[in-house]
Amino acid sequence: MIAMTHAGYVAAGWIGTAVLLGGYAWHVVRRGRKLSRQVPASERRWS
């Protein structure tokens, strides 16, 4: 796989995407937890 041409660009693109998506996912979940603590359970209509 390292013998791939343009390996740097491909790697940057895929890793960047993973970081962006993962980071955003973590941010959303964290915000969700924080807000969940402030809202009574009755208002949450999932799980």
């Binding site: 960047g16 807000l35 969940s36 603590r37 402030q38």
Partner: protein, 272 residues
Amino acid sequence: MTATTSPRTAAGAPQPADGAAAVPAHTGSRTTRILGVLALASSALLVLYGLVISPPDVEMADSVRLMYVHVPSATYLYVGCFFTTFASAMWLWKRTPGWDALAEAGAEVALVFSFITLGTGSLWGRPTWGTYWTWDARLTSTAVLTVLLIGYLALRRLDLDPGARSARVAVLGLLLVPNVIVVNRSVEWWRSLHQGSTLSRIDPTIEGDMLVALMVGFLALGLVFAWLMIHRFRVAWLEQQADRFDLDEALALRRAEAADATTATAATKGTA
């Protein structure tokens, strides 16, 4: 009447008075857990197909592998925008807060995908065309779309009475897809005068393992998109509830203070 304690100062989630089992404090559910697992699994499959199994392109060599991410993420960018416009229209019709939350989720998730689209697009452009930025139709209109989304989210962050804000935001959201269409069409027309075809267009004769990789890309990113949308929607929903809860609690505190004040005055008057 005793003053109510603010739930925010309590260490844990406010417990229901009847002692029911504590509900976990997060935006997850069985649906999102299943979705999450599927998303991770298909992402692994994508890595396998995209980076290993599929062959390098005849012309583009290995940079074609960026297309397996770029094309689906551009698609889901548009899907997110569609959610925002649709939800804005529904809000203007029904005026229920759930639609407002959906519009917000759509725009923010779309913004994330727009960065991915721009990033993978320019990283693809560098080895292929020698520059990070080419004014090709897709990159250019995605750049404009990114600014449109940033503007929309900026209007949302304003500190306004929620009723007034929702109306403005809904009108802006409703115009999002029409704006995107107009911008896309005019930019494509413009660039078609200078270039033969769009750079980022995947060769329609794509086949074999490359086609599979692209399909897996659509699947994996689609599942991630859905997972993010659900969680972000719930966050927006919770925010609305928290705002309302804030208001109720503030009112309750005020009433409590007023009650204490009158009992205190009565007490001092009584003892005087």
